[in-house]
């Protein structure tokens, strides 16, 4: 089945789409670009899903980039399907409302189907409830449109982000309340009492449906914004960093969740790679004894030379992490990563501080859930000395006093923090002492390099005594650093 060649407006649109993907950080090569062009010739253009998968299969080669792709796709190809023509919030034809409002009181029942404008807020809420109860996708989509039309208060040209409209719409829909109502209804419908398991299953089901509604609302808002502002502008405002580029210090809650999900596969990947590197190290010098022994089977001819494999010493790691509010997330991820590959080190000890300092190594011993241990560190470690504001100087003093003797020539010390010392004494001499004794001292700073030494940041005062100060703002940089550490 040969579809007629793609017309030039489509090509132009696709070119814009691809350059936006590149701008969003996805590596799209020229070959992939051509593949995409070819791929869409083989699928019916009116089938939006097939179109999307064709583009995805040719352009997105990393699953972590899927979300970014989806967002750009929604923006670029949002208004281009017959079913999405409902800009004015008309009620889809042939959808008879009276079917759905059976559950309402007599006087509230609408007089026949037709435009949704005339509906009252209660009716909309009731319909929402019914739609969620039945899991009726078409109705849910229609309600999402209605709700945006009614509650978002979108004005053309108004320079507010989509989140504002989303918030307004969702607040009026009161989804939490609806969820509770759904659960009540489920409890009533059940023959007996719901067991915890059943309760849980029901709730998961309804949450999934509510989530879908939320997505419909988001999509609707996006469609309207695109119509108002144009594709390019919209794509630009929606552009979000890829998970590996998200800044630790400014991650939103949602991004944090994405990061936490991303760190598991990352650590596993890193562990496999490092183990491999160790096994497949370069060949060393000739192992004479071993060669002679093997030569016996060849009648004394050393036919099979044997080499000594280098066994690089495993470093001993001490992690000293600032866990005060601003950099806590960064410390958490770094600890997570270091412990996930702890078999690459002969020993890992970790310390956390704010203005006091506490050893937390024991939290990680014998647990197989690192996330849990990191959580315990946050909850239980005794890190506050006076007021709970970072005091690097005092923390280092405590470290030196209590654990300084444990720092030896095999030890690599990693210090995590932004070096914002709240104008306390720096006590940089301690770092100098540590540097003398330790194998290496590294400082990882989650702040962008441009902010170093501004305000109360004294990173270079400490930095002169370190073997390296690194900017580690995102997972990509963190992964790179940890890999080089081993």
């Amino acid at each position: 089945m040969k579809v007629e060649p793609a017309t030039s407006p489509l090509l132009a649109l696709l070119a814009g789409f691809i350059s936006e993907l590149r701008a969003a950080g996805l590596p799209v090569s020229l070959t992939e670009n051509l593949d995409a062009m070819e791929a869409i010739q083989h699928i019916p253009i009116e089938d939006r899903d097939a179109f999307k998968y064709a583009l995805a299969a040719t352009l997105v080669k990393n699953h972590a980039h899927w979300r970014a792709f989806e967002t750009v796709f929604e923006v670029y190809f949002s208004l281009r399907g017959a079913e999405y023509d409902l800009i004015d919030g008309e009620w889809p034809e042939g959808m008879d409302l009276s079917d759905f409002v059976d559950g309402m009181d007599g006087q509230q029942r609408r007089q026949g189907g037709g435009g949704g404008e005339a509906m009252s807020a209660e009716q909309l809420a009731e319909m929402l409830f019914q739609a969620l109860m039945r899991g009726d996708d078409a109705l849910m989509r229609a309600i999402a449109r209605q709700a945006v039309q009614r509650y978002a208060g979108m004005e053309p040209g108004r320079p507010v982000g989509g989140t504002y409209y989303l918030y307004r719409t969702l607040r009026n829909l009161d989804l939490d309340g609806v969820l509770e109502r759904l659960m009540d209804q489920a409890r009533q419908d059940a023959p007996g009492d719901l067991t915890p398991l059943e309760e849980r299953l029901e709730r998961d089901e309804f949450e999934a449906r509510v989530d879908q509604l939320r997505k419909e609302v988001e999509a609707e808002i996006r469609r309207r914004l695109v119509a108002d502002r144009g594709v390019e502008a919209m794509a630009k405002t929606l552009r979000k960093p890829l998970p590996e580029d998200v800044d630790f210090m400014h991650a939103s809650r949602e991004e944090m969740m994405a990061l936490r999900r991303a760190i598991y596969p990352l650590t596993r990947k890193l562990a496999v790679r490092l183990a491999r590197k160790r096994r497949h190290g370069r060949k060393g010098p000739l192992d004479f004894r071993n060669t002679m022994r093997h030569s016996l089977s060849y009648g004394g001819v050393p036919a099979e030379p044997k080499f000594r494999y280098p066994r690089p010493a495993k470093p001993e790691i001490m992690v000293v992490a600032d866990v005060s509010g601003s950099v806590a997330a960064f410390a958490r991820f770094t600890l997570h990563l270091v412990y996930a590959i702890s078999n690459q080190f002969s020993k890992v000890r970790s310390f956390v501080f704010i203005d006091g300092l506490d050893e937390v190594t024991s939290f990680f011993e014998g647990v197989d859930d690192i996330g849990e241990a990191v959580h315990r560190v946050n909850a239980e470690a005794d890190v506050v000395w006076v007021d709970g504001h970072s005091d690097y100087g005092h923390a280092f003093e405590v470290f030196w006093e209590r654990y300084g003797k444990d720092v030896g020539p095999k030890t690599t010390v990693m210090i995590l923090g932004d070096a914002r010392n709240n104008y306390h004494a720096s006590q940089a001499w301690i770092l100098k002492e540590i540097e003398h004794r330790a194998r290496k001292v590294f400082w990882l700073n989650p702040e962008p390099g441009a902010y170093w030494d501004t305000g109360d940041s004294i990173v270079s005062e400490y930095g002169v005594h370190c073997d390296g100060v690194f900017e580690v703002r995102n997972l990509r940089q963190l992964e790179g650093f940890v890999e080089n550490l081993v």
């Binding site: 090569s29 593949d35 019916p44 899903d49 915890p196 998961d204 509510v210 990947k269 996330g371």
Partner: protein, 304 residues
């Protein structure tokens, strides 16, 4: 060139006939792979049917499945071809016994004979190229080979040919459908990715999983399948070390059928959960989650 599939829907149907329930994305990519004559790189969590996809496509199209299982340290002689040197030695010996070689011309003759197809041992990749009948080539767990070895695959993936120095280039007589699977333990090289269509197979959604259970587990009832799918979905939402895969779901459903369970309650679930989850800590976590009282669930919906 004739195609086995007329459109995306017929891919779905074809795969459905051999008990592989493909969703829109999977069917679409398989269809495109055939049309564009490009390999498919299939990625996703373990046990979601990546390998099965290749097998099922082979079954649906009636093609022969040739499988190359990748492992660390795989090399040319295991993946592409090898000279059968024992046979070559025999040949030389036989030649000697017959008559004394009379100078250069004779030796040339033998050499040409030695490096002919007669003495070539084909390995999966070359075999897939040389096959006359339609072939599905499955390169399993490609992320296990070292990044240097990946280069072995590039020629075959982009041009469907293999260059053998002594013989010249062997081009494919028919274009095989190629599937590469990866568990994503490392980043594959750009060069490899560029040559492939990318397909991520995730855990199936509720309806699809239920259909899979219904199709694959004999004797399972509609309501049991529904319950199994629901419980598995809920279990996957907990943060676990290893979320249950589709194959584990199927194992669990089979066990329930064998035990004669028609309705899963909390006790049955607790007794059989070790089939679904493999880590001690995961099992404990799941049991804790599902046994706790209503209040804990009354937390507001995560505003994600």
């Amino acid at each position: 060139m004739s195609f086995s599939f007329a459109d995306v829907d017929s891919v779905r149907k074809g795969l459905g006939d051999v008990q592989y329930l493909a969703d829109e994305g999977i069917a679409g990519v398989v269809y495109l792979a055939e049309r564009l004559q490009k390999p498919v790189l299939v990625e996703g969590p373990a046990g979601t049917g990546k390998t099965q996809l290749a097998k099922s496509v082979a079954e649906a199209t009636g093609a022969r499945l040739i499988r190359l299982q990748c492992y660390e340290g795989i090399d040319e002689s295991k993946a592409l071809y090898e000279w059968n040197y024992k046979k070559q030695l025999l040949r030389i010996q036989a030649e000697r016994q017959g008559e004394d070689p009379e100078g250069e011309g004779m030796w040339q003759q033998i050499e040409d004979d030695l490096f002919s197809e007669e003495f070539l041992l084909t390995r999966p990749l070359l075999e897939a190229i040389r096959a006359a009948e339609p072939v599905v080539l499955l390169i399993d767990e490609v992320d296990r080979v070292e990044i240097e070895t990946e280069a072995l695959l590039l020629e075959i993936l982009s041009d469907y040919q293999v260059s053998i120095p002594e013989l010249g280039t062997v081009a494919a007589s028919q274009i095989p459908l190629v599937f590469l699977t990866s568990n994503n333990t490392r980043e594959l090289s750009e060069a490899l990715k560029r040559r492939c269509l990318f397909l991520h197979i995730d855990y199936p959604d509720l309806d699809r999983e239920k259909e899979i259970v219904l199709a694959k587990v004999p004797g399972v009832g509609e309501s049991l399948a529904d319950q199994v799918a629901r419980i598995v979905r809920s279990v996957r939402q907990i943060e676990l070390k290893k979320a249950p895969s589709v194959s584990e779901t199927l194992d669990w459903a089979r066990t329930l059928v064998l035990l004669g369970v028609e309705h899963v309650d909390a006790d049955t679930a607790a007794e059989t959960v070790n089939i679904l989850l493999k880590y001690r800590s995961d099992i404990e976590k799941a049991l804790k989650e599902f046994a706790s009282s209503d209040e804990e669930f009354a937390a507001p919906v995560a505003s994600s």
